[in-house]
Symmetry: C2
Subunit: 355 residues, 2 copies
C-alpha cells in the first residue's frame, strides 16, 4: 500500500485527469453543508468531470459523523444508482473523508474513492492513511475500516477561507508529525507563525508533514506497530472530545485537542522516559502563544481517565496505553501509564499552558 | 489470501486449539436465537475456551440481517468491553457469519474472527470467502466488506438437527459449485440423494465443494474476474429474495432460490451459449424431485427484472449482467442479457420445474 497524494494549485484539473485515468461508470460527490456551499461551486466550475456530478450532502460537524448520517448517505448512493464501478469524490474536512470513505468502502462491499481535503487538518491527517469511520455510542471513530483512498488531491487554496481555529487545528497534527520525525523538523515547525496566515510558506511544511505520515502508514497500514507513533497526543485528545460529546458541550477542534494531548504526553514522557524538558517547554510556549486555553478542570479527571480506558489502543480496559517520546524522532509505543501519573501530567499541563 | 478451513467431528477441541494459537485478549460469541439454543449449550460443554465466553445473541432470520441488528451487536461489543485484540466466534448460519463478520470487521476498525457454520449452506457458502454484510433498503447484502475469517471450523455434526429445507438450501450451492467445476463433479453431486439424510456420504461432497470455492476466492478475492463464477444462479436468486422481502411474504431459503436461479441460468446458457440441454434436463430433474416448486408467476416478471437491474454485479442499471455456462466447468461471466430473454427463460424454467 502506497497512497497517491498530489499537491496542486489546480485541483479541478487534477481531478479531471484522475477521473479520466480511472474511467469509472459514474462519479458522485460527498460533501458536508459547509463544503457544498464554500468549495463545490468553484470546484465544479474548474472540473469538467465534476460539473454535473450528483452531490450527496449532509450537515457539517463532528456531531453528524454518526450512524444515522451514514445510513442516509448509503440511501442517497442507492437512489443515485451507484454501482461497484462508480467513483466517489469526498470533498471536505475530516468528517467528510472519514464518513464518506467508510460509506464508499462498504456500499456494495466497496467502491473506489478520491479524497479532496478542504482543511489543513484533513490534508495532513484524515484524508491520508486509510482510516475511515464514524463515532458510535459517544466514542470517537468506534466503527470503521482501514481503506485508503485511491488518490488524495491536496490544495492549500481551500485553506485561505478557513476560520483561524481550523488552521490551528490542522497545525496540531503538523506539530505531532514533527515530534515523531526529528528535532530538526520540530524546530522548523515551531519557527513558523501559524497565526500569520502565510499559506505559501505553509506549503513546504505541509508536504514534509504528509510525507511523515505516508512513510509510517506504508510500513504499517493496520497499526500493528510503527503506526502507533501517529497516536501521539491522541489518547488524551480522544478522551477530551468524547467527554465534550457526552456532556453536550462544544467539542474542541480535533487538532486543538491533539495539541493539548501532545503536551500531556510530553509531560508523561519527561516523567517516565526522561524526555529533555527543553522540548516540552518549547512546544508548550508555542501552544500558549497560538492556541486556546485547555478546556479541562480537575473535576474532569476521573471521567477523562475512564474514557481513556475505552480507547481502541488498549488491549484491555484495565490498562491505559500511551504513545510517548524519548526524544523528538524517538517514539515509544504501548506505554502503560497509571491513573495517578495521568492526573499529575494533567496538573502540570494546565500549569504549563497557564490555565 | 488463503483461508484456513478445518473439517472436524470435534469442533470444540479445534476451537480451543485455534484460540490458544491466536492468544486473544478475550473471546466473545455471536449467535442468533436458533444457534444460541440448539448449538451453543453443547459447544460450550465441549470447549473450555468458550465455556464462559459472553454471547451476543440476536433474533434468527434473514429479515434481521439489517442495520438495527448490526447497531445492537456493536453496542453489545462495546458493553462487553471488547478491544482490538479480542476474538469473535460467529456460531450460526449465513446470517450470523455475514452480520457477525461485518460487525467484527468494522468494530474499532476490525477484530479477528472465526466462523463456525452450523448449516450446510453457510459451511459451503457464507462462512468461506470473506463476503460479509447486511441487507439494506430491501436489497440483499447491499452494505458490507470483503474480509475473510481468520479460520472456518466445519462440522457436519450440526446438520443432523437441521430442517430438511435447510439441507436442500445448502445443497443448492453444492450443485452450483459442481456446475462451475466439472461435469464429473456435477454427476457425482446429482448421484447423491439429498433427501436420504446420509451425512457421512455428504462429508466428501462437502469437502470438494468448499475446495471449489476456496480455489476461486484465492485467485480473485475481490471479485474482479474469476470469482464472478460464484454468481451463477444468483442474479435471479437475489431478485426473488428481494421481491419476497419487499412484498413482506416468506423469503425462500437462499439455496433454494439459487437452485431456481441455476435453472434459469442454464436455460439462458442453452439459448445464448449453446449449453448442451442434457445438463439442463439432468439438473432440472434433480430439482423437480427434491426441491419445492418455484414461487414465481408471470405477474412477477416485471418487478423481478427491475430488481435484477440493481444487482451489485451490474456496472450500470441499464444492463442486466449474468454469469452463464458453455458447459459444466466452462463459466462465462459478464453476459448482458435482454429482459425479453429473461422472460422467456423464466417461462421455460417454470415449465421444466412443473410449476
Amino acid at each position: 500500500m502506497s497512497q497517491q497524494v498530489i499537491f496542486t494549485e489546480n485541483p479541478g484539473g487534477v481531478v479531471d485527469t484522475l477521473i479520466s485515468d480511472m474511467n469509472p461508470a459514474g462519479v458522485c460527490i460527498i460533501a458536508d453543508s459547509n463544503t457544498a456551499h464554500c468549495v463545490l461551486p468553484r470546484l465544479r466550475e474548474e472540473s469538467a468531470k465534476l460539473k454535473d456530478a450528483p452531490v450527496i450532502e449532509f450537515p457539517a460537524g463532528d456531531g453528524n459523523k454518526i450512524l444515522s448520517t451514514l445510513a442516509s448517505v448509503w440511501e442517497a448512493m442507492e437512489s443515485n444508482k451507484l454501482t461497484r464501478r462508480s467513483l466517489i469524490v469526498n470533498a471536505g474536512g475530516g468528517v467528510v473523508t472519514d464518513l464518506g470513505g467508510f460509506a464508499a468502502a462498504t456500499f456494495k462491499r466497496g467502491l473506489r474513492f478520491v479524497n479532496l481535503p478542504t482543511t489543513l487538518l484533513s490534508a495532513v491527517d484524515a484524508a491520508v492513511g486509510g482510516k475511515t469511520g464514524i463515532n458510535f455510542n459517544g466514542l470517537k471513530n468506534e466503527i470503521g475500516v482501514f481503506k485508503e483512498a485511491d488518490a488524495v488531491v491536496v490544495s492549500t487554496r481551500y485553506f485561505s477561507t478557513l476560520p483561524s481555529v481550523e488552521l490551528l487545528s490542522g497545525y496540531g497534527e503538523v506539530i505531532k508529525h514533527a515530534l515523531i520525525d526529528s528535532s530538526e523538523n520540530l524546530l522548523r515547525v515551531l519557527d513558523y507563525d501559524i497565526s500569520g496566515n502565510d499559506l505559501s510558506a505553509l506549503q513546504n511544511i505541509l508536504c514534509d508533514s504528509v510525507e511523515v505520515k505516508r512513510r509510517i502508514v506504508k510500513v504499517d497500514p493496520y497499526e500493528k506497530g510503527l503506526r502507533k507513533s501517529l497516536n501521539l497526543g491522541h489518547t488524551v485528545a480522544h478522551a477530551i472530545e468524547a467527554q465534550a460529546m457526552r456532556n453536550g458541550v462544544a467539542v474542541p477542534a480535533h487538532g486543538v485537542a491533539v495539541v493539548w494531548g501532545l503536551i500531556v504526553d510530553m509531560v508523561l514522557s519527561h516523567m517516565l522516559l526522561g524526555l529533555d524538558s527543553k522540548w516540552l517547554h518549547a512546544v508548550a510556549r508555542y501552544v500558549r502563544i497560538h492556541y486556546p486555553a485547555m478546556s479541562v478542570t480537575c473535576s474532569d479527571y476521573t471521567s477523562l481517565i475512564e474514557l481513556m480506558r475505552h480507547d481502541k489502543k488498549n488491549t484491555d480496559t484495565s490498562s491505559i496505553n500511551f504513545t510517548l517520546l524519548e526524544a523528538p524522532g524517538k517514539v515509544v509505543p504501548d506505554c502503560i501509564v497509571s491513573p495517578d501519573d495521568i492526573r499529575t501530567a494533567l496538573d502540570i499541563t494546565r500549569d504549563l499552558l497557564g490555565v
